[in-house]
Amino acid sequence: MKLNRKDILSIEDLTKEEIELVLKTAESFKEVSERDIKKVPTLRGKTIINLFYEPSTRTRTSFEIAAKRMSADAINISASSSSVVKGETLKDTAKNLEAMNPDCIVLRHSFSGAPHILAGLVKCSVINAGDGCHEHPSQALLDMLTVKEKLGRIEGLKIAIIGDILHSRVARSNIYGFTKLGAEVRAAGLPTMMPCRIEQMGCRVFYNMEDAIKDSDVIMMLRIQLERQNAALFPTVREYSKLFGLDSKKLEMAKKDVIILHPGPINRGVEISSDVADGRSSLILDQVTNGVAVRMALFYLLLGREL
């Protein structure tokens, strides 16, 4: 079993076997992060560039910690401090970074498909750390790892993904990922938040939160992007929260042992109430821990490949 590919651009691209390999590898990597010396020499001498065109704390830090725990040299470039502000194109940036011989570029970009373009321009591996409304594969992998770890399996589970599916790369990656591993995925949100023909991805669509969560094993809340509210997909945050916010009252309608995920950063009191976010069903912080393990696994599996 191997991950014989140069890049990780989407979950759509990955086979079930490849996803399982990443999860299995990530499980082993969790232990490394629990050691006193949280560092292994595996990727000594490898250079990993975190190229972030969008603000991100969690994902960037997670990739950086993962790289450093593997002893790779991790360099962070954010758009605000780079020549992007001087008008350099992605192509030129790619060619310039390539000239410095990195082994992997981790790209976060606000435009869908940017990692795809980058991968075609450089010889090194490219990992998509979230592109526009397209995919966020490492997030879906860490979500799958968290569910598998907690519930022991993924096949046969019911996963409800709630919120702004239209703008969510996390939702797209998770729909592909959980479906490939045999779970039933439900996408729930306002009709204005439902992308065209999303059901063709293999999920069921719900416009009512109760119906979606009633017998689900996992509830994944998506972040409402308050900063993108200009699109005005709903009249007020209050009304959205009433319909699709997860609070303890709605949680009562779910299974007793349901688990709750959220890719973060959370808007307390908007899509999730504080008591639920901090409650015992919430695995939000486990997700963060697993994020490092998943990214270590991705680096390990990609960078060992013979170029």
Partner: protein, 428 residues
């Protein structure tokens, strides 16, 4: 006296009901005779083209080309654009007004015509702007544009969003008998969409443009044409709903015509997969059911014209993130072969194809001496080998820009000679 005899070709000229082996005799750039008995013509100084086994058509007319000059000569200029036209069998092109400066006044029109006379190798007919600066606010000097040589008006590239201005344009252009060519797009609905709204846009995470964005404006423009009795031509129809709206309008007797591009009846939004920016254009590539509706529209006469919307873009404008990439594809050199597929698939006859690519554009644009091989007409003639197969090699395209989604496609039907005013301007 310059004399040209095209011997033994299969002549298809729908305007005159000609479809058979004829000789075409031209003198001083005019058609003089179409005959079975060319042997009677025994002038020694006559250039003879043996067209045995080939087809002879009235020169193709593209009523929707972006020549990009003045202002964007790095994408295309009148010389390269008309070379591409000639290579595609087009003897006339109507060039859109979205240049820099915009062709919204007679001095720009005259500049284009002067450059076309000096450097162009096919006929160039400028399309003037509807509104000053394409801003959609006040009308351009349409009478002046007509006098300078414009054959239509259009803000193409952008819709005329203001319904009152569109009404005025349709009314004001009536005495000048200029068609208003409308780019139908509801910008508020299209928003920042970059491709067709459908499963593919959902999958790729790209913002979609629904069919309704086009349908709404087609419906509005038809209502305005009905109100004003103006002359409306719908550019680049892409959506099935639009076809239906135009069909209904025509059956009610509304003065509306419509065009479709080869890429819209050939490709679907699946082409965007892989973030292929050469498949990015406005209107976007639609679904298979839209293609079917466009084809039926061509078959039943709802759609009058096949036009290229030849829109050259520099590689640097395409070699970027999909959202940032410029819209448009080059089309002059692939249009005929792609259209011929409609004939070989049995959808339309060869004669109907020639109507859509030559006769109808000449009628809509009022080009009296073009679009047919009638005696006395301009000797604009396209000779084609319908059976010749070829591959699209972007490096061999005459256009300055190479933004085609048809790279490496196998094509059937190759232009052998393009003749403008009795002179051979292209030999394939």
């Amino acid at each position: 006296m310059s004399k040209l005899l095209i011997k033994g070709g299969h002549v298809v000229d729908p305007a005159n009901g000609i479809d058979g082996i004829f000789d075409v005799y031209c003198v001083d750039g005019k058609i003089v005779e179409i005959t079975h008995h060319a042997s009677r013509i025994t002038h020694n100084d006559c250039t003879v083209i043996d067209a045995t086994g080939l087809h002879v058509f009235p020169g193709f007319i593209d009523m929707h080309t972006h020549l990009r000059e003045p202002g964007y000569e790095y994408k295309e200029d009148i010389r390269t654009g008309t070379m591409a036209a000639a290579a595609g069998g087009f003897t006339s092109v109507a060039c859109m007004a979205n240049t820099d400066p915009v062709n919204d006044n007679s001095s720009v029109t005259r500049y284009i015509l002067k450059k076309a006379q000096e450097e162009g190798i096919v006929n160039v007919f400028p399309v003037g702007a509807v509104s000053k600066g394409l801003k959609g606010e006040i009308l351009a000097e349409i009478s002046d544009l007509k006098d300078a040589g414009c054959v239509a008006i259009s803000d193409d590239g952008k819709p005329v969003s203001d319904s009152r201005l569109m009404r005025l344009a349709l009314e004001y252009s009536k005495p000048f008998n200029l068609p208003v060519i409308s780019h139908c797009e509801d910008l508020t609905l299209a928003g920042d969409g970059v491709m067709n709204e459908g499963f593919i846009s959902t999958k790729l995470g790209l913002k979609g443009i629904p069919n309704a964005a086009e349908d709404i404006m087609v419906a509005r423009d038809i209502a305005l044409a009905e109100l004003t009795h103006g002359k409306l031509h719908i550019a680049h129809v892409s959506a099935s709903g639009s076809v239906e709206l135009i069909r209904n309008a025509k059956s009610r007797g509304v003065n509306v015509t419509a065009e479709v591009t080869p890429h819209h009846f050939t490709l679907t939004d699946e082409c965007v997969t892989g973030y292929n920016t050469n498949a990015k254009m406005n209107p976007p590539l639609r679904s298979i059911s839209d293609i079917e509706a466009l084809k039926q529209g061509l078959k039943h006469g709802t759609i009058d014209v096949i036009a290229t919307d030849h829109a050259p873009q520099n590689a640097d404008e395409k070699d970027v993130e999909f959202d940032k990439a410029a819209n448009g594809v080059v089309g002059l050199e692939t249009a005929f072969s792609l259209s011929l597929k409609l004939v070989s698939d049995g959808l339309i006859s060869l004669s109907v194809l020639i109507e859509k690519i030559s006769l109808n554009p000449s009628r809509i644009l009022g080009l009296d001496k073009k679009g047919s091989l009638k005696v006395g007409n301009d000797a604009d003639i396209t000779i084609v080998d319908l059976n010749k197969e070829w591959f699209v090699d972007v490096n061999k395209l005459k256009s300055k820009s190479k933004n085609t989604p048809f790279e490496n496609w196998k094509m059937k039907g190759k232009v052998v000679k393009t003749i403008v005013g009795g002179k051979v301007v292209y030999e394939g």
